[in-house]
Every structure is written in structure tokens, then in C-alpha cells.
Symmetry: C2
């Protein structure tokens, strides 16, 4: 079996080998720019890790891994357009560096290039992988739609929120693992167990993200604190605060959120104080830990020796401990 | 063999059966709206006509036909966003009726739904059809990129223009026919010949479109006259005028195009007068007829009796004779 570092290097090398040099350059330069923004490359690594569980040749999983990474970055590109974001990973977003039409069209092209990668998959797996990849991609759009719908609603429940993040972010992580297992000719029950593992890891990951937006260490977190608070984003933290607060507490919270005159730091501090009072952070960490436990339980259903599954187990644990 | 009318009815019925009723409705309502805008459904009809040449059961070609129609409408949706168009087929564009984020996300979803349709293809053809569909979809984006690039260039050649319309509009028509033939287990040389037929039909169709923008009959054409002239669109007509005019003629043309104070009718009449003087329309019709001849020559390479190919031949001829 390969170490995570070896897999990361294989993934980085494969991404580097993707050729975006053909014309029209106006179409492909923004794609290359987007993919070179970097990141952990978590999703393609998960595909290779899943294939590696069965000692499948990792090259056989590269095309699908590339498809997932390209598709993931397409969703970030279009999300940035829809959110009017100026920066991603410390660099200008594509619509800022070029223009909005470019962001739309190059994004469209990335999505299609992802499907083009699937031609590299072993033909015996193509129907199943295409179907899973297609379903996943549509679910991600549904999640994004719910996220946008929630912006203008004041009655979003925690269950609805969890369903939104399941679709928007968790199914991609789940599918990355599942597809890796399918390509390795794993038993269906193993592929399903890995999917569930990935789903719960994805949910836990987002809950951790919501927590760190409030209580993270800006030096290690890589993002400013309170960004979600400033744009009134419906996160687990905010929705839990509304759930736990009494009527006066909810009114106080709403006043803070709707106050366009307060300075950003005042708003962040005010909301954080309410979160402190209600122990919202504890509920968020509890929910995250519950999903981590469910992830590890799912991993136990994979019919392989525990030491084979150790890298995935460790990865799940490390993702939850980041940046505290 | 089926008549074109029977095929149109089968296509209309299949589009009608597509189910967009699941939530989130904010995502799927604009998709249903877009598909219900109507139109000739040319591309899915071509797929079925190609399959019909070989007496393949038309149901086997429906999923691919739906994929092509959904994909085609996705490109129109995003093109309208990038062009800031207000109206399509007499109705508000999606970003006008809803908003731009909806147009982007619902468009993304349509593109993905097109690929999801391919799951209904016979497995033995899936790899080939997926590859052809993927290549086609990327080429369409490349064509759109060139079209956008041309807006800010004053040195676009006729060859570049023809390459742009080949990618942007002709490869979809070509692929629709080719894929229908592949699904019917046609000989590869037949599928290639049908592809070439479709390519030349697509090019001729666009040239006719360019001509009708200037010389069409508004009552029968369905669009106002001179729209391309008003927005300085680089069409075959405009590029030919620049090619044929002497230096004073080019200056006169540029003055008309860059005059922001003239009334629309004045600009259209002025440019049309220059086109009249240079006989630009004749060049456009000549180019169109050349591609129509090449289309019919390609059709001759299909190894089937002439009467089998008659509906396609007639369709090509009718597309060229519209709205005069």
C-alpha cells in the first residue's frame, strides 16, 4: 500500500500533466489558473486511497481522480461567480482576474473536461462510474440551489441545513471514495461502506468549518474569522443559536445580524458573545464528533484488515483536528 | 421508415415526458421553462432520422436525442447570460425572468442532466457515444470562446469565422446524426459521412441565418431585421463587406458601425446599402450553396439506397430555402 504522501505526489504529478496549452487560450488559461491555485487535492487522493485498499494499479484510478478534481474546481469557480467572491486561496477569482463571461464559459468547459476524463476509465466500469458521477454532479447543484434558497429564508431547520451540506459538499467526498473502490473491483458492500464513510467525513468536515469560522485561530486557519457571521450565512452555528435562544435572545441575534451600521468587528464580537452564552460551539463539535463516529463505524463495514484501513481512519481524525 | 412528422411527434412526446417536478423547484423550473420554449427540435430529430435509416428501434435513440436537446438548450441559456439577451423565442430569458445566479446554476444542471441521459444508451455504444458527446460539447465551448474573442478584434478572417461557426453550431448538428447512426450499428464510414453531411448543413444554415438578418422577410423570419448589424456582429456578411470594399468603402463602413448617434434604422439602412453595392448577399448565398452541395455529396457516401436518404436530403434543402 502507498503512503498518503506518495498518493499526494502521484495526484499532484497527474494534475500537472494535464495539458491546457491548446487554443483558444482565453478558454483554457483560466482553467489552468484555477487548477494551479492548489489545495490539498483531498478528493482525488481519496479515490486513489480507495483503489489502493485493494492493491489496484493506481494509474487505473487516475482518470476518475482527475475528473473529480476538475469537477470540484468547476463548482468552486461558478460558486465564486454566484457569491461575487473576490478572492480564492489568496488569489483573485477568475471573474475578477478576467471577467464574468470567462468565468461562466471556462467553468462550463471544466465541467465538460471532467466528463471527458472518464474516457480513460476501464470500459467494464464505465456505465456505473458515469451514472454515479452524473448523479453526484446533479446533487451538488441541488445543494447549491438549497444554499442559495436559504439566504432569503428565516425558518431553515438544522435538518434542512444538514441535507444541503450533504448534497453540496459531502456527496463528492463520498463518491470519490466509492468510485475508487468500484474501479478496483471491490465488493459492492465495501464500495457502499466507503461511500457512507466519505459522507459522514464530509458532513463532519463542514461542521468543523462552521465552528472554525467563529472559534478558529486565524493564523493557522487560513481564513479571517467571522466571515460567515458577517454575511449572515446560515451555518450550523447560527441555526443552533436560533434553536437554543429564547425569544429575547433571538431578537437580540436578529438585531445584530440586520444592523448595517455596526463595524464588522462589533458584529462578530456580538454574535460570538451570544454563541458563547448558548454554548453553540459545544453543540457543533458534538454534531461533528457524532458524524466522525458514524464515519469510523462505516469504515468498519469494509471487509479488510484494520491496518489496511488505518490511513483512511487517520485522515478522518486529522481532518477533524485541524486548526484548533 | 418514419416520416419527419412522425419523428417530430416522437421527439416532442419524449421531451414532454422528461420529469422536472422534483425539488429543489428553484433549480428545475427554469430548466422546464427553457425546454418548453419550443423550437423545431432539429437536433434530436436528426438523431432519430439517422437511426431510422437503419430501421433501428427509435426508442434506442431517444436517450441520446434527449441528451442533445437538453445540451443544446443549456448552451442557449448560458449564451443568453453572456450576451445579456432579454428575449428568446419571444419570452424573457431565464436571467430576466428569474436572475443571473439561477441562469448559471440551472444551466449547469442542464448540462449535467444531458450526460445523465446517456445512461439510457446501449452499453456496447456507451464509450464511443460518451467520447463523441464530450468532444462535441467542449468544441461548442471553444466556438463560443472564439465568438467572444472576435467581438474586440478588427482583423477576423473569413476562415476564422467559418471555423468558429463550425465549432459553435455545426458540430452539434453533425454529432446528432453521427450518434444516431452509431446507435443503429451503422458502418463507421456511414456514420462519418452523416457527420460530414451534418457539418456542412450546419455551416450552410448559419450562413443563411447571416443572410436573412439583412435580407429576410421579418414577417416570416421570426426575428427583426438587422439585429446583427446593430450590434456589429462579425458575420459572414460583415466580414465579406470588409474583404471586398476598397479603403474608402471600409472607412465608410467603420464610420457607420461606430456611430453611436445614428438611429437604428439609419444604421441598418446604411450598412445594407454598402452590402447592396458590394453584392455581399450574393457571396453569402454562394457560400451557403457550396456547403449545401458538399452536404449532399457527403450524403452520397452513405451506403444506402437514395430513397432512404431522401428525407435528409429534403430536410437539408428545406432548411436552406426558409423565409425568403
Amino acid at each position: 500500500m502507498h503512503t498518503l504522501t506518495e498518493i499526494q505526489q502521484i495526484v499532484a504529478s497527474a494534475i500537472d500533466k494535464l495539458d491546457w496549452s491548446l487554443p483558444p487560450h482565453g478558454l483554457y488559461e483560466p482553467i489552468e489558473y484555477t487548477l494551479r491555485l492548489g489545495g490539498k487535492r483531498l478528493r482525488p487522493c481519496l479515490t486513489l486511497m480507495a483503489a489502493d485498499l485493494y492493491d489496484a494499479p493506481l494509474e487505473s484510478a487516475i482518470p476518475a481522480a482527475m475528473a473529480l478534481e476538475i469537477f470540484h474546481n468547476f463548482t468552486l469557480l461558478h460558486d465564486d461567480v454566484m457569491d461575487h467572491a473576490d478572492v480564492r486561496r489568496g488569489q483573485p477569482t477568475v471573474h475578477r482576474r478576467w471577467n464574468e463571461n470567462t468565468a461562466i464559459l471556462s467553468g462550463d468547459t471544466m465541467s465538460l473536461c471532467a466528463f471527458r476524463q472518464l474516457d480513460g476509465i476501464a470500459e467494464r466500469h464505465l456505465k456505473e462510474v458515469l451514472r454515479r458521477f452524473s448523479d453526484m454532479s446533479i446533487q451538488i447543484c441541488e445543494g447549491q440551489q438549497y444554499d442559495m434558497d436559504f439566504e432569503t429564508r428565516s425558518d431553515v431547520s438544522i435538518d434542512e441545513y444538514m441535507e444541503m451540506i450533504r448534497l453540496k459538499t459531502a456527496v463528492l467526498i463520498a463518491s470519490a471514495l466509492q468510485i475508487g473502490a468500484v474501479l478496483a473491483d471491490a465488493p459492492g458492500s465495501d464500495a457502499d461502506a466507503l461511500y457512507d464513510f466519505g459522507l459522514h467525513v464530509g458532513l463532519a468536515f463542514q461542521l468543523k468549518d462552521d465552528y472554525l469560522d467563529v472559534y478558529g485561530n486565524p493564523a493557522t486557519f487560513g481564513k479571517a474569522i467571522g466571515g460567515d457571521i458577517l454575511c449572515n450565512k446560515k451555518t450550523f452555528m447560527l441555526l443552533t443559536a436560533f434553536r437554543l435562544a429564547d425569544a429575547p435572545g433571538r431578537e437580540a441575534l436578529l438585531r445584530l445580524l440586520n444592523d448595517n451600521n455596526s463595524r464588522p468587528q462589533e458584529k462578530i464580537q456580538g454574535v460570538t458573545q451570544i454563541y458563547d452564552n448558548l454554548n453553540v460551539g459545544r453543540h457543533c463539535i458534538d454534531a461533528m464528533e457524532q458524524h466522525l463516529r458514524q464515519a469510523l463505524d462505516s469504515l468498519e463495514r469494509v471487509q479488510l484488515p484494520a491496518e489496511r484501513l488505518a490511513p483512511l481512519r487517520d485522515l478522518a481524525n486529522r481532518l477533524m483536528q485541524r486548526d484548533k
